[in-house]
């Protein structure tokens, strides 16, 4: 009896929160909304330490926070969301930590393909962005399966950056641009004065060419650096660094970021036109 009433109370509170969220979304949509929001999910390990959890559990709670943030973004009609899940630099961590993080990532990728997952609920197409060759075979296969399974979705896009750094992305796209140009030129002499490859050629081969440039980049835990994330694409992005650790992030922070974006959208748009 008590359990039933506490369930009812939880449901009522959740219903109320959902209603309030929809009200705030409706009000915010009176102004321009961002098309693409990116998240740097920083602070899982610090959260685990703070709450006295095991290190891996920090990442699990972080995953729940991610699912919530995705839900809020898609409710707000943000069409593109990008998240920084695992950097190439993170491979330098202790092998046991890397192994357990990879296992968690594989488990969560597989959960995305389930029927009730957020991906199917909102018609999300999933892209895995990064140097996937650096991943172990089971993780890479799971990622490819997820990409194939969601390829037909077109309502929204989720880009998960895994084994990614911006400098690696730029290097890779320069390499691809060179290869394509070589094929085009077909062994003819290269005129050193002529610019065979321009900025548009390089941008065409970026891993992140699947989405427009981000409007807002949110990094949790209050750190103010980009840590090799979307350095090329963030030329006109608003950078927002709330002090909350990633598992503590919520709807309020998204609203704050969007309000900041709306305050500055005219000046950001002029910068976009110039670049």
């Amino acid at each position: 009896m008590e359990k039933q009433s506490s369930n009812l109370a939880t449901q009522l509170i959740e219903g109320l929160c959902s209603f309030l969220r929809r009200c705030i979304c409706a009000i915010l949509s009176a102004g321009s909304l961002p098309r693409h929001v990116a998240f740097i999910m920083d602070g899982n390990r610090r959260y685990a330490k703070k709450e006295g959890l095991l290190e891996g559990d920090g990442h699990r709670v972080g995953f729940t926070a991610l699912m919530n943030m995705l839900k809020y973004c898609y409710e707000m009609n943000v069409k593109y969301v990008t998240v920084y899940a695992f950097s190439i630099e993170n491979f330098k961590r202790r092998p046991e930590e890397v192994q357990s993080t990879m296992q968690l990532i594989q488990e969560k990728i597989e959960s995305l393909l389930e029927k009730e997952s957020i991906v199917n609920q909102y018609g999300v197409r999933v892209h895995f962005i990064g140097n996937l060759k650096l991943l172990s075979k089971p993780v890479r296969l799971a990622a490819e399966r997820a990409m194939n399974a969601t390829a037909h979705n077109s309502t929204a896009t989720l880009a998960i950056c895994i084994a990614y750094t911006s400098t690696d992305e730029i290097t890779n796209s320069v390499e691809e641009a060179c290869k394509v140009k070589m094929d085009e030129l077909g062994g003819n002499e290269i005129d050193s004065k002529e610019l065979h490859i321009d900025v548009a050629d390089v941008e065409k081969h970026m891993y992140m060419a699947v989405a427009p440039d981000p409007d807002i980049i949110i990094r949790s835990s209050g750190e103010t650096r980009l840590s090799n994330f979307l350095l090329w694409q963030s030329a006109s992005s608003l950078l927002y660094s709330p002090r909350a650790l990633w598992p503590e992030i919520g709807f309020y922070h998204l609203v704050r970021a969007i309000l900041d974006f709306q305050r500055n959208v005219t000046s950001l748009e002029t910068k976009l036109k110039q670049s």
Binding site: E89, R93, S192, Q274
Partner: protein
């Protein structure tokens, strides 16, 4: 002493006036939008939400201004000892419109020199600062020469860049690599590594250090296209508009940087 206080008070009052005018401007724009759309109630609520945010930022600005005044007047003891050597390379990103105010830029450079910084990189997207670089260097050198022997030793290593030093530099490096590695279609080309890219950028004259700290003077916290290759682990701090820059805020930003501990991914 009394004159200085009067000047500070006048500047402060002028700043309050500009903020009030800004708020009035925003409200007027919002009011126009309400009448041009159908959904009156929603726009009204949106406007109220933004009004609350604007009041909040106004209050925060007020507190920050007070804090800056206290810091630069030397009342806050913890800001007295600043380990400036931790900032090996400083980048300053300026909104191109604000960069037109060369006198303000010069004042900022003067403050940085006084604080003991030696290597500064100025960036603005449109290249406005490149046009005033000669004037800035000349002024700085003349000030150094006019001062006493101690001041003469303080020189500033100034680098001035713009948007073309970012994405276009990478495109030029791509062309350089195309010629170097891919010209010979027979040879098996090894996979391009990040150090190859870094070497290519250096060969064509775009090798420059990565800044430790970046200060953004402009309306938005946005790096406006600063060269991506140099931005990996740079701490990015938004300082507000250039016209309302404060010495105390500069000290606070640098001190906060010296307290940061980076993991670099590990």
């Amino acid at each position: 002493m009394l004159d200085m206080d009067f000047v500070h008070l006048a500047t402060f009052l002028r700043w309050i006036e500009s903020k009030a005018l800004d708020l009035g401007d925003r409200m007027q724009k919002g009011y126009k939008r309400i009448w041009s759309s159908g959904d009156l109630g929603l726009y009204l609520l949106w406007l109220i939400m933004h009004l609350i945010v604007s009041i909040w930022y106004f209050a925060v600005d007020l507190v920050n201004s007070l804090e800056s005044y206290l810091i630069s007047s030397g009342f806050m003891k913890q800001y007295k000892d600043l380990d400036i050597s931790k900032v090996r390379y400083l980048a300053v990103v300026l909104d191109s419109e604000e960069a037109l105010d060369t006198m303000k830029v010069l004042e900022l450079l003067r403050w940085l020199t006084v604080m003991g910084l030696r290597n500064v990189c100025l960036y603005d997207p449109e290249g406005v600062l490149k046009r005033s670089k000669d004037a800035l260097s000349l002024w700085l050198r003349s000030e150094g020469a006019n001062g006493d022997a101690l001041v003469k030793q303080k020189y500033l290593n100034l680098e001035v860049i713009s948007f073309t030093d970012g994405k276009h530099a990478v495109a030029k490096a791509a062309n350089f690599l195309l010629k170097k590695h891919y010209v010979n279609a027979d040879a098996e080309v090894p996979e391009l590594t990040e150090s190859d890219m870094a070497d290519a950028l250096a060969e064509i004259g775009y090798a420059a250090p990565e800044p430790d700290l970046m200060l953004i003077y402009g309306p938005v916290r946005c790096h406006l296209g600063f060269p991506a290759w140099r931005l990996r682990y740079t701490e990015i701090v938004h300082m507000g508009p250039l016209k309302s820059m404060k010495y105390g805020a500069l000290i606070k930003a640098i001190r906060r940087y010296t307290m940061v501990r980076q993991n670099y991914g590990t």
